[in-house]
Subunit: 402 residues, 3 copies
């Protein structure tokens, strides 16, 4: 069991739902180290897409919570993950993505099969058991074409039942990566997630997003008129335009639908067919969509992986805590591997989320600067921010219980 300090206990005890967190949660380095060794290590993180390891021996090297991981396809239907640490004297083994028949450490040439077993090591002292010296595995689960990792070996299996049908409908397993961008954000992961889970900031901070997305009428405004307009637009869309066989999974109908645990679709709005600036398609239809209906499915694998699925492309968000005040935000755009031309117009496709994520990085970093102040104290969440509260509450409850 990882011991935690009195300061952590007290901060947990003082937590008040409905208010932003105390400075301690956003800036304390000891807390982050504790989280990294406990709660964060038990979360599933989106680490890549199946197309990144296309054949047996293909591998990628990715960082997760300060650990370097090797993710490798070991057979046609199996992907495994290992810590990128030689069992001899600890050297990094792989530096970059590649394809290999074995992993050979550059230091002393200890060589591992792609399934992690130590295959050869020169001059071992008699009695050394090679079977004890395989690469250390990391939890890895492939589902719907997505690769998830968790650092703690005791992490329970990821239950994909609700979201797998949606990923398959979208054609994620047979997609290819058209673009990936990184937005390292100098803030604690909680500030980043709180930002992601509310649209209260959409109107002041995201003019492009607010122009494109019809739902801001309901989720970014506290007014009956626009909300009624939006509900009416959604109803019309659902009755006339919407593709009906997408496997939605509305767990509950509460306001908490914004928490991305339900699998729902709604229209982008304004007659747009996809999330491009002019609303026109940027790639051929994906998966089983028979036509454009201008819908977007939003769900994810909380708390750190979320998806926006359009008729012609998919957007994956990875939130990867790296340090107390550093979170990598990685956005990946997928298109259909078979039908989408090699030269998708990437700039048109990434426009909305790129401009929006750049804006979020700036406002989150300004938030991080402010919460370091001696004058900062938790402020009240408004009606338009309460969707994000369960994320934090679950984190607090989990830490209190451990």
């Amino acid at each position: 069991m990882v011991v935690r300090s009195h300061a952590i206990e007290e901060a947990l005890a003082r937590y008040r739902a409905g208010w932003s967190l105390e400075q301690f949660f956003y800036t304390n380095q000891e807390l982050f180290e504790y989280e990294r060794r406990t709660w964060l290590a038990r979360q599933w993180f989106l680490i890549g897409h199946l197309s990144e390891v296309p054949q047996t021996g293909s591998y990628i090297v990715r960082e997760l919570l300060g650990e370097s991981l090797i993710v490798v396809r070991t057979a046609s239907d199996t992907v495994k993950g290992f810590f990128n640490v030689c069992r001899h004297r600890g050297s990094r083994i792989c530096r970059e993505d590649g394809t290999a028949t074995a992993f050979t450490c550059p230091y002393h040439a200890w060589s591992y099969a792609i399934d992690g077993r130590l295959r050869s090591a020169a001059a071992l002292v008699d009695g050394t058991d090679k079977a004890d010296l395989g690469l250390k595995p990391v939890r890895l689960q492939e589902t719907g074409g997505l690769l998830f990792c968790a650092l703690d070996p005791k992490t329970p299996d990821l239950d994909a039942a609700t979201f797998l049908p949606g990923l398959e409908y979208q054609g994620i397993p047979s997609a290819r990566i058209a673009a990936r961008r990184h937005y390292p954000t100098a803030a604690n992961w909680k500030l980043v997630m709180e930002n992601f889970h509310e649209c209260y900031h959409c109107l002041p901070a995201h003019p492009q997003y607010s122009a494109v997305m019809g739902h801001v009428k309901r989720y970014a405004m506290d007014a009956a008129g626009p909300a009624a307009d939006w509900n009416s637009e959604v109803d019309t869309w659902a009755q006339t335009w919407a593709i009906r066989d997408f496997p939605q999974a509305v767990v509950e109908t509460a306001e908490a639908d914004w928490s991305y645990t339900d699998i729902t679709r709604f229209p982008i709005g304004g007659g747009r067919r996809t999330q491009s600036q002019d609303g026109q398609p940027v790639a051929p239809l994906m998966g089983r969509y028979p036509r454009y209906d201008g819908g977007v499915a939003t769900f994810g694998v909380p708390p750190f992986s979320f998806f926006f699925l359009l008729n012609d492309h998919a957007v994956l968000f990875q939130f990867l805590p790296r340090a107390t005040e550093l979170t990598d935000v990685t956005v990946t755009w997928l298109v259909d591997a078979a039908s989408a031309p090699d030269a998708v117009d990437v700039e048109r496709m990434v426009w909305l989320w790129d401009v929006t994520t750049v804006q979020d990085k700036a406002i989150i970093e300004a938030n991080a600067a402010g919460v370091r102040s001696r004058a900062y104290e938790p402020g009240p969440f408004t009606k338009l921010e309460l969707w994000g509260v369960p994320l934090i509450t679950q984190y607090i409850d989990a830490l209190r219980a451990q």
Copy 2:
């Protein structure tokens, strides 16, 4: 009450007046954090000049002890200061100086009146009291055209009685800023202040200053002859040239006059009219000076703000501790706002203090490097350094008492 460690207690107990401080006082990070939360937070720091907030709604954003502050003119005769932290979720509100009718947070558009009251915030949960959610004020005091801040709300008022008449005589309230330069110095503030308060280093380290300033004959030399020459030059000046109505305020006549608490004037020396390289004026006369008499008034608001007042310009020194081993030294040159031409010859005006402060930055940083050594131990102050001792003694006494 802020708890302090045994190590701090012991170092305070070991302090020996007349000797440089132990390494601990110059390098210990825990001590700096303790100072920042206690003694430093109760000091008044020069934060700006009235001309920087010329009209209602004009504001400046300044950093003090790691805090970002908004200083704003709220009415013709009132300037207020606030922590630059939104009461909602803690974001920075203002990024740079400007003029505003309200402060609107870029994150969620909470909007504050320039007097700090929360004016509007969308979608507040019922029962939220806007009156509780105004910007947190910081102590701010305007005196003689200068703006001072203190972080601790319980800081006693600044008693301006002795120095205000001098600032008014100098015309500081109606001055304008002609130049400002920053000299971030990689050293603890005590090394910076010890340097500022003695002229023992003037001859080895400051050839230009020593050539210009006649008082080095007394304050940088331990010899009867030069001191007598200087006393004689001062006497002649006082009897023949000196303007007599400057409101001096000599609290005591002890050697401690170098501590900048007395308000005194003396000649630059050598017939110079101002502190320029050739001794000739760089700007029109300031304030109530009827003519050039070549004098300089030196006083300040100890322990971190000091002034050099010449017939034609004023030099303000701000010493702003930022981290254990980082102190910002900001120097501002003022001239008469009405009579001084827009294009003052800035290089001629800043010459002496710019070259001198660049030199001081280098020697203070070399001092900081040395005191980190295992070989460093406190050394004896000489006769020419004892003027700076009260500054440190007061600091030690205050910390011992708190």
Copy 3:
């Protein structure tokens, strides 16, 4: 006595010889600080060569374990070392190498004779005893033309009896520096030394070194055939080519000869006359070598200073721990001062050790990255790495005993 934490005690208790160290030993900052104040302070470090202080008053400024030292020739046959810290207020005194008749502090002009005595200081308070205020000496020992320093004044004298004859035979006292290169390596010193003391990595990591040095057949391979070939090549060399009057000093004949405590010579191999790429000389013969015999003497002053002595040049390795995860590796190439032309072909001379040390820097830094992982655990040393074990064992034993 320097107090040490429970965590250090426990890690020392858990040490298991024959296995790489726990992460704690490579990454813990508190341990490094403890080492720096105790065991590291009592080690002798090669700090320079006599030719760097050619005449009375010549001095060099060097860093050792975070301390700046002045090393100065005080008379024709005496070199002394001082902490570069003024006894007045702690300033650095010297910034760079030079020649001086006195050391004058740039801050307040306290002036020290080159033997460290305080010579002059203005305005001392009555009763100040200048005899107490000389520069603090650091242990310095000159032997065979090499200058060694140790920070702790109680460090026992360096016993040069075994290695001095070899240095003199090589002509080190009358050599000059032809090249010096720095390889700052982002790793704890133990990872650097473990790397230096084994040749198990030579074949995978050092193709050039493996091509040049015949001994890799024995020290980098675990095979009877190549070892027998090598033994035979060494025997033939010893009987036919080897210069016989080099003062070898084989303390023991165990495998531990690789620990560099014995003074041994063996052939480079393959008929090479020196360690250049083509095997041909790069400089005139050094010292008392009557001719080229293609041998190399390898020994050192463990644990941080090692030499490779060729017929025509000498290579000195300095390992200088700077921080928990930073070690400076400095390599110096010496040639005969009298006979070697000013323009030695430096690139040909430095080729082997430059390319090899650049490779080592990369693999050691990859090792350092890996041992930071939660997945890292000590791995088993192989038969070809056991020569380095005594170095670590001696360190552990010393720390356990102190």
